[in-house]
Point group: C3
Chain length 340, copies 3
């Protein structure tokens, strides 16, 4: 059970109701009336709890689970323990997500302006929006309805936020237009100057950064990630893109829809990503590249050339996946031979 | 045109005036009297706008540009579209920077202490300095003239800032002496304890960190970067050095003048950099190294030995550039042969 | 001498007293009565100052030091300058740490709630605890005795902190149970949602993150590091573990006791570390791995498989240390041959 100091559980829901909400078929013991009171991991779940199997690594835990009901792919259903009701779906993790949202609906913001928040009189704040303590909201800012602006965050002049945006604690935003349902986790930095300067005989000359950050609907940006505004064009994050913690996005970068950037990725200035690009943790891309839609870039990869749509690239410097594994294997054989 | 919600344009300026300010020679259509009202990218610029060509990747955009005037190197001038006035210079990006500063001069801080800022009575704050909402300034702090201290930033006891320093939102600084015209972007952390502890039979013994962070004039430090104070000696950042976002500088590191550290670089304790060293994104250096002036270290490089002045090092573990490319090529050939 | 604007020195202490506190034996000039007034680096120390030699790189500085007394290993004592009193120990850095703590004891917090802090009436705050300006403490929070809560930090509902915890400036914490004597440096983010979502035909479905962050006693977490809460199980950091700056810890990660994670390390979701694991700077681990106790993972290593207890792994993809150096050497030879 989730710690009640931090979470409140809704429900209960019957197996039938969960099946209806998630589109899963009922199998195994098939107890449609069983009342489920919570979600839990396979190894911890009891007879009134709902679990899921999404990774074959945890097949043993599935075999031994005491869960009342489990989301599982039909192909793995045979490993189920006797007595468990199965909720059969090709996407058990997605079904679990939908069910867990039913058990743990996110509480809406408590509308109002906390004491100690500083709000410029020219800012417009939508109905149902909560502004927490010591948040600072500058002139001309427009904030939509039902938003949450976290404590000690700073939203600078002119910034626009859509409806249902959630801004965590200690965030700072400037020069940005942000869509609906966007989530910015604590410590995110959006809209500061990009890393732009020109060399001069006496040092560096700062290049004014005259663009914005434009963020589509349903984007998430992880804790302490940094997104610089454009130098002239905008920095753009497409709708539905998911960005993890400590990610760096340089000026003028354009990211398409539904991309996934894992923690500590860095993308240098003016590089463009298509839609549904995935980049593993700590991957790095130099500037001015074009990465095609559906491309997959491995963890710690170092990308110095354009990547074609759908291509998978690994290593530093990055190589097509087959070539990468050929080189890994060839070097392994070579090292063994030299020993012999 | 830059979004007027965020930027105010000055001017207009004649082509002649821009040439005078930047030292460029006038070529192409040569319309000295043409009034320029703004700067813009090649593909977006209109007949009263000023643009620049700095990267051959964008030569096609140059050929098609509708810009009234363009900074360009003489060697590329032949590709200019008919009717464009050219501003010829060997350093078009630098010239653009100077011109863009004329069109978009940075507004000075609005002097004064915002309501809700907490300022210790023993702190001294220079004339013309602005302290934004909920900033916290500790005992004995000295802040120069015309500085900007961003909202929700914290400047701890004894810290000294020179004139014209700009501190972004949500920054924290302690144990630091900071020069003039330094810019600290949002979320920067300066002066906290370095990662110093000794092993003991019962665990780790914390080593008191008794040094400071000393930052020269004209330094920039990017969003969410972290600079630990020295353990006994100081951590030093030389004048004019440019540090990008999410960079880590360990205790006792000494960085010379005019260095460039791209995003997510990490430098371990007690390593010393000469002047004008450049490190690409995500490059990492272990501790106690000496990196000579003018050295260039590639993106994602892993440096475990000293680097000579002017040397270029790539890869992890880092290799001299020729050796790096030799190894890349040899491995590529080997992998192909093994397939054959 | 440490800058008196930032540090206050205690003492003086006699050589005999320092020997007693650190367990070192007295050698060299052996002046037991000598009064030591401060600690200093070898090259800067004077005749009333205490220094240490911990790294053979600094043997020349040892030979020339003017320090009154020096911690040194017996095996290196012969290089000492005439007149120096030696404090002989196999662990000179540990002894220095203990001595430096005597000269520079950490000042206790100044108890009390600063003006402008926002504290929910249901929060409980222990005796001797200091809450600095504009800190925000939510409902049901429990804070132990003698803690320091830094300016502009945010501690969200239900969080529990043990005694003697130090929270730096601009930190945010939620969904967390934190032990005694833990230090969180400025900008740390603890307890936000992990990177959890499932793919759907229409995009990503957010997976509710229902776990906590549980941090043992005596843990340190460096500036701007991020620790996501568990998805169902908890994210766990074992007692005495040391985490440097800009480190990312994903949801459900379990870290044992006394581990050391150097700056910019990233650990993906559900990976488990035993006790006393060390990971060099910028090292990365994919999710769902098991890393045995005492394993050592090199800087910038990319770990994609389980690591056995005590094993040392280098490179990306990670290899056992011998194999790594064999491959490095084989490739070097190959590249030279191809040139010949």
């Amino acid at each position: 059970m989730a710690d009640p100091r931090f979470f409140s559980v809704a429900g209960p829901f019957s197996v039938g109701e969960i099946a209806r909400r998630t589109g899963a078929a009922i199998g195994g013991a098939g107890n449609v009336e069983l009342l489920l009171r919570d979600v839990a991991a396979l190894e911890a779940a009891g007879s009134a709890e709902l679990s899921f199997l999404d990774n074959r690594k945890y097949l043993d835990e599935f075999r031994r689970t005491g869960a009342g009901a489990v989301f599982v792919q039909p192909a793995l259903a045979a490993a189920a323990p006797v007595g468990a009701t199965l909720l059969l779906t090709e996407q058990p993790y997605r079904a679990y997500a939908v069910a867990a949202q039913a058990f743990y609906p996110e509480p809406p913001p408590s509308p109002g302006i906390a004491a100690g928040a500083s709000i410029d009189p020219t800012a417009r704040i939508g109905e149902g929006t909560a502004v927490e303590a010591h948040a600072v909201i500058g002139p001309g800012v427009e904030i939509g309805q039902r938003c949450l602006i976290g404590a000690n965050s700073v939203i600078a002049a002119g910034t626009v936020l859509g409806d249902d945006v959630r801004v965590g604690a200690n965030v700072s935003i400037s020069h940005a237009l942000i869509g609906a349902r966007v989530r910015l986790y604590p410590g995110v930095r959006i809209g500061q100057d990009g890393f732009g300067f020109a060399l001069d005989s006496r040092g560096y000359v700062k290049v004014p950064q005259l663009g914005r950050v434009v963020i589509g609907d349903d984007v998430e940006i992880g804790a302490n990630s940094t997104i610089d505004r454009g130098a002239g064009p905008d920095t753009v994050i497409g709708a539905g893109t998911m960005i993890d913690n400590l990610v760096q996005i340089g000026h003028n970068v354009q990211i398409g829809r539904g991309c996934v950037l894992v923690a500590q990725v860095g993308i240098s200035g003016s590089t463009r990503l298509g839609d549904h690009v995935m980049i593993g943790g700590q991957g790095g891309l130099i500037g001015h590249l074009t990465i095609g839609s559906g491309a997959r870039i491995g963890a710690q990869a170092g990308i110095m050339r354009d990547v074609a749509p759908g291509e998978t690239v690994l290593g530093s410097p990055g190589l097509p996946i087959k070539e990468f594994f050929r080189q890994v294997a060839a070097l392994q054989r070579l090292a063994r031979k030299k020993d012999g």
